[in-house]
Amino acid sequence: MNKQMYDLCKWVLETAGKAGAKDLRVGLSKSRFVEIQYRDRKPEIIKQATTVQMGIDLFVAGRYSSQNTCDLRKDALKEFILDAVSTTKLIAEDPYRTLPDPKYYQGRADIDLKIADASIDDLSAEQKHTIVKAAENAAWSAGGDKVVTVEADFNDDFGESVTLTSNGFSGYSSSTGFGVGVSVSVCDDDNRRPEADDYAQCHFHKKLANPETIGANAACKAMAKLGAKKIATATLPIIIENRNTHRIISGFFEALDGRNIYRKQSFLTDQKGQKIGSDKFILVDDPLIP
């Protein structure tokens, strides 16, 4: 737990409580990131920044509002909170929108998700440039003279967040991310410019995929699009590559969203327990994958 962040959230809870917000949720997040991008063997973008954001959900006399700010000086925050409470009192009641019952906070698993790499600061700028160059060089090598341009990038980030609620929830999370990606454009005989990319992301630097493999994969995927032909409109069986399945199943996410169920806007409304797809179709949501 970042004590400085926790103390600020605690202060917000107390300040809002004194202003009349009996129930509220406050979340504070901080992140810093670096992005290095090369195109055609020279650095094209170098970007670095640190960001902060506070979100406050207020439940005042059965009414709800949400507020966000990146100005965390206490004087400014105090004014922000007081005015947010006042605004919330002006809108209509929504008795169904409340903080979760505290009983749901009980029995939480006390486990480390192992998604923060403590050695993130050990990776030097030079090493980051080396990763990008290796990925790009591999793409040029694999693509040959059909390649028009190659873009390669490396990024890493560290983020942490604290969430407190007035009815007893307290949570902290931190994570790191490392990514390498390559995008390759090739030129087809008819001047079309098919493009393909490959990328890898992970929480730990040492687990990051080999950049040469990423670069070569991107080039091979782009080359595979050369000579693509239009086919006649027809009803056909389709095989979906595993990396693209999320684009297909994401179509179900809106229908599964609780808001759309209670609004009766989803085709899955009142379908719980009913057969809605193939016996082979199993969809799970799992936030605990290491």
């Binding site: 670095q48 507020q67 990146c70 100005d71 004014e79 002006l90």
Partner: protein
């Protein structure tokens, strides 16, 4: 309703001299800026003087580079939401920061900070400077204010309170229910934001602006004989609250309810190649997505656009002229100057079928040896500018809309599209037709549903053979373009046009 006294909302960043900002205020429950003046805001409220800008720019160019720029931003946005006949949710957001960029050729060093202090800005400038490795580049001695027209003048100098906005949203929902007995649910929303920006460049430009943006939207669910349909519709642009009269609420209610009710009787269409007529207005999003992105100069500079070798060549029939226009009054994509300080303009991309210009920011303009077209845009201070469209549309042509529809024996008429996928390099696209009609023997027929259109954007442009005289922008007030992780407000439009052949994906078999 309780009345909240107007009072200072945020205290200032403490700067030399101890200035206190009094600009953002909560006015009867609606968080906004107190004034509408455009020049002098960041100096007055945050102590950002020309001397300080010069010092930070000097740091950004301390290792060389062609130029550097500072982009200061202070944005306040609010929204109100209605569900189940009452406004029961509100939100507000404040964003403040500065982005600092150093450019060397086509290379960019970029850093940003949310603290408008000299120390933080110098640190971000030092980060941006790392893109170069030579000796320092000098900064201009003076910054001259950018001269431009005002394409979205604000009508009042005082903010309007929360109460009439609550009434507007409630009234819009009421009008939706009143328009049809089939309406079983309405969700309505009013959103409004104001962005203050100041751009200062190392070559002496200083541009300050206050950009408004707002929209009134509604989504309805209709039900008839157990069949349910939904539709969503909105109006808005770079408008202040004075735009949202009772007539606008009626127009939103009419637009959303009539389209939803029409879907209750929609039929499937057969798949295959067929002529397609696009209605004026909203289908302009297809022009933006499937064609327009290919004209953005960064894709051409990098040779990833199919248009990168086609400058001066025929890309459409002579009846087609495509423009990108940042000057259309109050349109959502309009800007007085772009986010690099270049004055806005109306740019002819395709003129009488010939490719005449890409859409340039400063980097691509230098690459091609041209002047920027004022298309260097960014989402906010946390991003650097890249070429982006503004309001993109096809100019009116010689035909009448009815004449175009009557020219089609069997085809479809598309009034709105959504859920698009585009591959810029290949020009391929696929879109869902969210509102449309069959065309049979030159007449509009039944409404259609479960239809996709797909094809190549450049081919679609080549296949436009008739253009009517009824140009409309979409005016949705919420049109937002995403590129490289950045969202910017845009609009698009077109007159009624005929595309001689397009692949239509439907669920009905031919002849069935």
């Amino acid at each position: 309703m309780d009345r909240i006294d107007r009072r200072t909302f945020l205290k200032a960043t403490t700067v030399a001299g101890g200035a206190i900002i009094a600009a953002p205020v909560l006015f009867d429950g609606w968080l906004t800026f107190a004034g509408t003046e455009k020049a002098g805001y960041f100096e007055k409220e945050f102590g950002i003087t020309d001397a300080l800008c010069k010092k930070v720019l000097g740091k950004a160019l301390s290792k060389g580079g062609d130029f550097a720029d500072l982009y200061f931003e202070h944005t306040i946005s609010n929204s109100l939401g209605l569900e189940d006949k009452k406004v029961d949710r509100a939100s507000a957001s404040v964003n403040l920061g500065v982005g600092i960029r150093t450019v060397k050729g086509d290379q960019v060093g970029f850093g940003f900070t949310q603290e408008l202090t000299e120390k933080s800005m110098m640190a971000a400038a030092a980060m941006a400077a790392t893109i170069a490795d030579g000796s320092a580049t000098p900064v201009a001695g003076k910054f001259a204010p950018a001269k431009t027209s005002d394409y979205f003048p604000l009508t009042g100098t005082k903010p309007t309170p929360l109460a009439p906005r609550l009434s507007l949203v409630e009234s819009t929902a009421g009008k939706c229910f009143a328009r049809s007995n089939y309406v079983i649910k309405t969700i309505a929303r009013f959103g409004e934001g104001r962005k203050r920006i100041m751009i200062v460049t190392s070559d002496g430009v200083k541009a300050e602006d206050l950009l408004p943006g707002s929209s009134l939207s509604a989504m309805v669910t209709v039900e008839k004989d157990g069949r349910k349909e939904q539709f969503w519709f909105s109006l808005g642009g770079r408008r202040d609250f004075s735009y949202y009269t009772d007539d606008i609420a009626k127009e939103v209610a009419q637009g959303v309810v009539d389209a939803a009710v029409m879907l209750l009787d929609a039929v499937a269409v057969p798949a295959g190649e067929m002529p397609v007529v696009f209605a004026p207005g909203s289908p302009g999003v297809l022009l933006h997505e499937a064609v327009g992105h290919g004209f953005e100069a960064d894709f051409n500079r990098k040779k990833t656009s199919i248009y990168s070798t086609m400058m001066g060549q025929k890309v459409a029939e002579p009846v087609v002229t495509v423009v990108d226009d940042g000057t259309w009054p109050n349109a959502r994509g309009s800007i007085n100057f772009d986010d690099e300080g270049t004055p806005s303009q109306k740019t002819a991309i395709v003129e009488n079928g010939i490719l005449k210009s890409y859409l340039h920011d400063r980097i691509s303009a230098k690459h091609y040896g041209l002047s920027s077209t004022g298309n260097g845009r960014r989402e906010n201070y946390a991003n650097y500018p890249i070429p982006r469209m503004r309001n993109t549309y096809i100019l009116p042509g010689p035909n009448k809309p009815q004449e175009i529809i009557e020219s089609v024996k069997k085809g479809i008429y598309i009034q709105d599209v959504s859920n698009g996928q585009v591959n810029i390099g290949q020009g391929d696209f696929a879109f869902y037709v969210s509102q449309g009609r069959l065309i049979e023997d030159g007449k509009l027929g039944a409404p259609i549903k479960d239809v996709n259109i797909m094809g190549s954007g450049p081919k679609l442009l080549r296949d436009i053979t008739m253009v009517a005289d009824d140009l409309k922008l979409g005016w949705s007030g919420t049109s937002t373009c995403g590129k490289d992780g950045q969202l910017v407000p845009v609009d698009a439009g077109m007159p009624t046009v005929l595309v001689r052949s397009l692949t239509v994906g439907g669920t009905k078999k031919r002849g069935a």
